[in-house]
Amino acid sequence: MLRSVASLPLPGSVQARLRNQGFVYCEDLCSEKGYDSEGEKVMKQLGIDERLASLTYVPPTKSALDVWHDECLSPRIVTFSKAVDDMLDGGIAVGEITELCGAPGSGKTQISLQMCVDVQIPRSFGGLSGEALFIDTESGFTPDRLKEIAEACVDHCQLVALHQNEQDMGQQIEKFTVDTIMQGLYYTATHDYVELVAAIYSIKEFLQQKRQVRLVVVDSVAFPFRSGILNSLQRTRALCDIMQELKMVAMRYNVAVLVTNQLTTKVGPANESRLVPALGDSFGHYSSQRLMLGCLQRECYAAVLFKSVRRKQSSAKFQKEASSMKQADLRVMVKRAFKSVCTSTIVVFPNPLCPIPSTLSAVKTPEDTEEDL
C-alpha cells in the first residue's frame, strides 16, 4: 500500500515543499531498491534523509500465539511450597509485579527472603541461576535468617544432586554455596519514602551493570508511605510513579518484581469492617498477581490468590518448617524453610468477591476500626 507523505510526522513547511515538487507518497521518495536519485536530492536538501527510515519504520508484530508461547516458556521462580507454586502456575513470573499482602507475622518477609535464595538455584536444578536485589524499608531483613534459608536450600540441592547423579548438577552444585548466595543478593535499606523512591529510580542503572539480576524485592512498599507525612493525593501520585517504574523495569529487563504490602481495616457502608490491602484501591491496579497471606495457627500459613491475570481465585496452605527431618532439635529447625505438607488442600473459594476467611486476620482485635485514607 502506498503511504502518503502527509501521514509522516514532518513540519508543514517540509510537507508543502515535498508536495510542490510532486512527491505524494513515501514510495516516491524511496523505492525498494534504495533511494530514488531525485528523491534523495530533495531529502538531503530538507535534511530528512536519515530520518525517513525511522519515520517509516513499522514495529514488528507478534501474534497472540507467539505471546502465549513466550509466556509458557518464561521462567518461574519457585517458592518451594507446592501448593503456592501450583496456585501461581509454577512460581513467581518474571516480567511481572507480584504483590504479597498480609498482616504482621503472616510470612511476607519470609517468602521474600526465600525467593531471593530460590532465584539463585542453578539452571540444571530448574532454577534461574540469577541474582536478586532486596530493598528493605521495614528493617525486617536479617542476614542470619537469610543464611538459614540459604543453608536449607543448598542442602536440598545437594540431596537432589546426589540422587540424580548428573554431571551438570555435580558441577553446578559446587558453585552453589551459602557464600555465593550471600554474594548474589544485593541489599539496600531505605529510611523514608524519598529514599525508597530514589532506590527504585536507581534500579534501572543497576540492572544495566548487573544483568544477572532476575528478581527485585521491595519489602515493604507500604511502610514508608504510611508512616510518612504525605497527604493522600501526594501519596497516590508518588506510588503510581514508582509502581509504573517498577513495571517498566520488570518488562524491559525481564525481572520478577515482588512487593509486599500491609493490611488495613476498611469500614463498609453498613459499618462492618473488613481487612483489605493497604495503600488504597488504585494501588491494586499495578500488580499482576496479588497474594494475600495469613497465619492460620502456629507454623501453618495460608495464601489466597486475590488477583491474577491468569488464574481464578484460590487459596493454599503452606508451612514454614525444616527442610530435613534429620535434626532432632525441632525448635531450631521450625522456621528453616518453606515446605508444603498439604499439597491437596487448594481450596477454591466459590465467590470471587468472598471476604477473607476470618482465620486469616491473625492480629485483628475489636479495636480495629481505623480506616485507610
Binding site: H191, T264, E367
Partner: protein, 334 residues
C-alpha cells in the same frame, strides 16, 4: 539535600531546573515525568538523567551485596542481651537493634521487669552482650519503679575482667514521665533526638505505648489514633535506624474470642490493633501460667512460671519458652 549543582549535570539542564525552582534532589524525585519535561523544559533523555543523578545523591550507599553489607553494616544487626543466657539463646542473641520490639502481656506478666533488666545489660560492653550505651526509659502508666531498679543494681554487679568495675548503672538511665500523646510526640520528635546526639544511648523503652493510646481517644476517633500511632512508630523506627538503638515498646493485651479445637476461648492479643501491629518488627508476648517452681534464692518460697512467646519476628520461629522472675531478675528455665 543536594542542590542540582552537585549532580554533575550539563549546564543547560541545570539552568532549566533552577529556573523551574527545583533546588533539591528530593523535590526532583517527587515530581512526575510530565512536570519535569513541561516546567523544566527537558527532553526525555535529560529527564531520565536528572532522575538518576538525583536518586544517586539521595541513596548514596547504593546497592551492595549482602556479604559486603554484613561487614560494613555490622552495627545494624547487633543484638542486645536480655541478661539471661537461656533467654538469649531462645531469642538468638537477644533483642534486635533495628525496628521496634514489642513486649506485650497482661498486667503482672513481667514486662517491666524484662525492660528494667535490659536497661542494665545495655550498659555492658559489646563482648558481654551489651551495647555499652545508656538507656532512656519513658514511663506513661506508673511511676518509674526505682526501688526495683536499685534492687537489680545489686544483682547485676558489673564485674568484668577488664578494669571496668566501678561502672555506675544509675548514671546513664534517663527517665521521663509522660501523660498524653501530644507530649509523647513532642518528646520523641524534639527532645529525644537532642539527647541521643549528646549522650551515648543505645536503648529506648516506652512503658507503655498502650497506656496513652487506649485512653486518649474517643472510640469513634480511630482514624486520628491510627495516624498518631504511625507518626510515633515511624519516628521510633527512624531513631533506631539513625542511632542504632534497640527500641522496646511495652503493650497491653485485649481478650479476643478465638477458636481452639472447636471451642470458643478467650485469647489475649496485643492491644492497639492492626495500625500499630504494622509498625512492629518483633512481637513478644508474656503470660503467667498456673505452675510454680521453688525460688532459687529463697528455697521456702515459690515463684510463678511465665511464658515468653514469639508472636512474630523476621528472624525467629514462632515458639515459646518459660521463665521466672525472682529477686535477682528475669531468668529462663527449662
Amino acid at each position: 539535600m543536594a542542590s542540582p549543582d552537585i549532580l554533575d549535570l550539563p549546564e543547560k539542564v541545570r539552568e532549566n531546573l533552577e529556573k523551574a525552582g527545583w533546588v533539591s534532589s528530593n523535590s526532583i524525585l517527587m515530581s512526575s515525568d510530565h512536570e519535569l519535561r513541561k516546567l523544566g523544559n527537558l527532553t526525555k533523555e535529560e529527564c531520565e538523567l536528572v532522575r538518576t543523578r538525583a536518586a544517586q545523591s539521595v541513596l548514596a550507599s547504593g546497592f551492595i551485596s549482602v556479604t559486603e553489607a554484613v561487614c560494613s553494616l555490622k552495627e545494624k544487626w547487633q543484638r542486645l542481651s536480655v541478661g539471661c543466657s537461656k533467654l538469649d539463646r531462645f531469642l538468638r542473641g537477644g533483642v534486635g537493634v533495628q525496628g521496634i520490639t514489642e513486649i506485650a502481656g497482661e498486667s503482672g506478666s513481667g514486662k517491666t521487669q524484662l525492660c528494667l533488666q535490659m536497661a542494665l545489660t545495655v550498659q555492658y560492653p559489646v563482648t558481654y552482650g551489651g551495647l555499652s550505651g545508656g538507656a532512656v526509659y519513658i514511663c506513661t502508666e506508673d511511676a518509674f519503679p526505682s526501688r526495683r531498679l536499685q534492687e537489680l543494681f545489686c544483682c547485676f554487679p558489673p564485674t568484668f575482667s577488664e578494669a571496668q568495675t566501678n561502672m555506675n548503672f544509675g548514671d546513664s538511665i534517663f527517665i521521663e514521665h509522660i501523660g498524653d500523646v501530644e507530649s509523647l510526640k513532642q518528646c520523641l520528635l524534639v527532645r529525644l533526638p537532642q539527647l541521643l546526639t549528646q549522650r551515648k544511648v543505645k536503648l529506648v523503652v516506652v512503658d507503655s505505648i498502650a497506656g496513652l493510646f487506649r485512653s486518649d481517644y474517643d472510640p469513634g476517633d480511630a482514624v486520628n489514633r491510627a495516624k498518631d500511632l504511625q507518626v510515633v512508630g515511624g519516628q521510633l523506627h527512624k531513631l533506631a535506624e539513625q542511632f542504632h538503638l534497640a527500641v522496646i515498646c511495652v503493650n497491653q493485651v485485649t481478650n479476643v474470642a478465638g477458636k481452639k479445637n472447636n471451642e470458643t476461648q478467650q485469647q489475649p492479643v496485643a492491644a492497639l490493633g492492626l495500625a500499630w501491629a504494622n509498625m512492629v518488627t518483633t512481637r513478644l508476648q508474656l503470660c503467667r501460667t498456673a505452675h510454680t517452681v521453688p525460688d532459687p534464692h529463697q528455697p521456702d518460697h515459690t515463684v510463678c512460671v511465665r511464658t515468653l512467646q514469639v508472636v512474630f519476628a523476621p528472624n525467629l520461629p514462632s515458639d515459646s519458652c518459660h521463665f521466672i522472675v525472682t529477686k535477682a531478675g528475669v531468668f529462663g528455665i527449662n
